[in-house]
């Protein structure tokens, strides 16, 4: 069943008797996404593959070879986003050159986040995964220290920024999350703070 705002109200699992989301509607039986397994990207879809790790052997049927094809390559589909992406890439080049200069770095980063937030106006007109990528860039980048960035991570940021001018899919988001993780940009970083929670909420809402 395809989601539409008219037919979908998510569960909130209220109360002990409803800790788990309600059962799926018909036609939504799951087959799994092989999370946690060790997929063999080049393997045939039908041949059982033997995985050997140290002294243990795990027999598994290989998952389908990755069907992921980036949709963010080729001619830009969105003109405004393409122009903004060019500006952002220029700022990233400057950032790459200022990793050892904290003052310059912070100024350039602030400019980057500001330009990025301007793209927020395009959220309504674009596909949902555009919003995901914007959030990923903003959260990942705004919360990463200069010392954690490298030429490689700047390269990944450039790749993600370029993708904004193209139609984006869930696979693109998954791909970029993985690229972020590999390059040391941590989207969980905002959670790494020590704060008095109740005091914070009081300050915000009183």
């Amino acid at each position: 069943m395809k989601y539409s705002p008219q037919n979908f109200t998510p569960s909130e699992n209220e109360g002990e008797d409803h800790l788990i989301s309600p059962p799926l509607r018909s036609g939504q039986g799951g087959t799994g996404d092989f999370a946690g397994r060790q997929p063999a990207p080049q393997a045939s879809t039908t041949t059982p593959v033997q995985y050997i790790t140290y002294n243990i052997t795990v027999n598994q049927t290989a998952p389908a070879a990755s069907a992921y094809q980036p949709t963010y390559q080729g001619t830009a589909a969105f003109t405004k986003e393409a122009a903004t992406a060019r500006s952002l890439r220029e700022l990233l080049s400057q950032l790459g050159a200022s990793l050892d200069d904290p003052c310059n770095f912070e100024q350039t980063r602030a400019a980057f986040v500001s330009v990025l937030r301007d793209l927020g106006a395009r959220k309504q007109a674009r596909e949902p995964h555009f919003t995901d990528i914007l959030t990923m860039l903003e959260v990942g980048f705004a919360c990463t220290d200069a010392s954690d960035l490298s030429a490689e991570s700047i390269g990944v940021l450039e790749e993600v920024v370029s993708a904004l001018a193209h139609e984006l899919t869930a696979d693109d988001v998954r791909h970029f999350r993985k690229r972020f993780r590999e390059s040391g940009i941590d989207i969980l970083r905002p959670l790494d703070t020590a704060a008095d929670v109740s005091k914070l909420i009081k300050e915000l809402f009183t």
Binding site: Y3, S4, P5, F8, T9, P10, S11, E12, N13, E14, G15, E16, L19, I20, S21, P22, P23, L24, G29, G30, T31, G32, D33, F34, A35, G36, R37, Q38, T53, Y54, I56, V58, P128, T131, D132, T135, M136, V139, A142, C143, A170, V173, R174, R177, K178, R181, I187, L188, R189, P190, L191, D192, T193, A195, V197, L200, I201, E203, L204, F205
Partner: protein, 288 residues
Amino acid sequence: MKLQLDTTVIFHCILDRCDDPIMLLYGQLKKQADSVHASTFTKKEFAFSLISDCCSFQAKLFNTKSFLEAYTWIDKYSYFKKRFGPRIHEMLAHFILEHYGNEILECDVQTKNRVIAEHLLEYLRLIIPELWERFDNGLTLPLDDRTKCAFAYIGPVEEGRVFRIRTKTARHPCDGSEGCSLESMLKGKDSRRRALSLLKALQGMPDSDEKKTRELKQIQRFLQEFFESGRCTSCYEMCNKGIGDMVIALETLPDRTLVTTNTKEYEIICTAISQNYYVISTHANRSS
């Protein structure tokens, strides 16, 4: 030394907060370890605790568009899940602090409430699959799969703008012929002997003993039924209502040390089944 991590420890490993005393203690333990392991059942526990809490919070934000309403609800909700509720509560508030700083303070209450709800909704969309994918990070080998828990292979499923945890799978139910193999694991010679020891230990504890927690009473009921009927009741019904600690302890291989932050249940269970364990606690570390 081979370490077997339970869900509570993996939770800390995933967030890997620099000020987390549990991680400091775990780091010292890990230095002495030859390998680090976890199981598919542990991953299922992770799905039905932290990931499920995130999904529920996200759904509440989606439906109400109000941070305060969702936040108040999390307080109530966490009553039922004492272990994970407060953690979610804490980490999302951290997000607000770090991400918005002073600029949000200038808005009126209504705007703050709406804007924070929108941003948290988007952030949760990003981190729910990320948390799930990071489960295996830091493990030496692929997950042990003695229970063949199907839920460990599914994880959060995207439906519209929110994620949810599926409760039924193609590999369910727990009939021993397909999917869950908890029943056959318990019927194995070694597991059966250990489960019987646990049952005897629990039967020897009076119900009034304050050490006999609600979870331990549920484990006792489950084992009594299992030894009487030779069958497991549905894993969906039981595995998510209190027997998780027992399953994780029983599936841990005897040459491994089970590492947890949960003293109450594991102390009783591991002692009864003669399983090596190590409790990481900020107060006092206990092991056997």
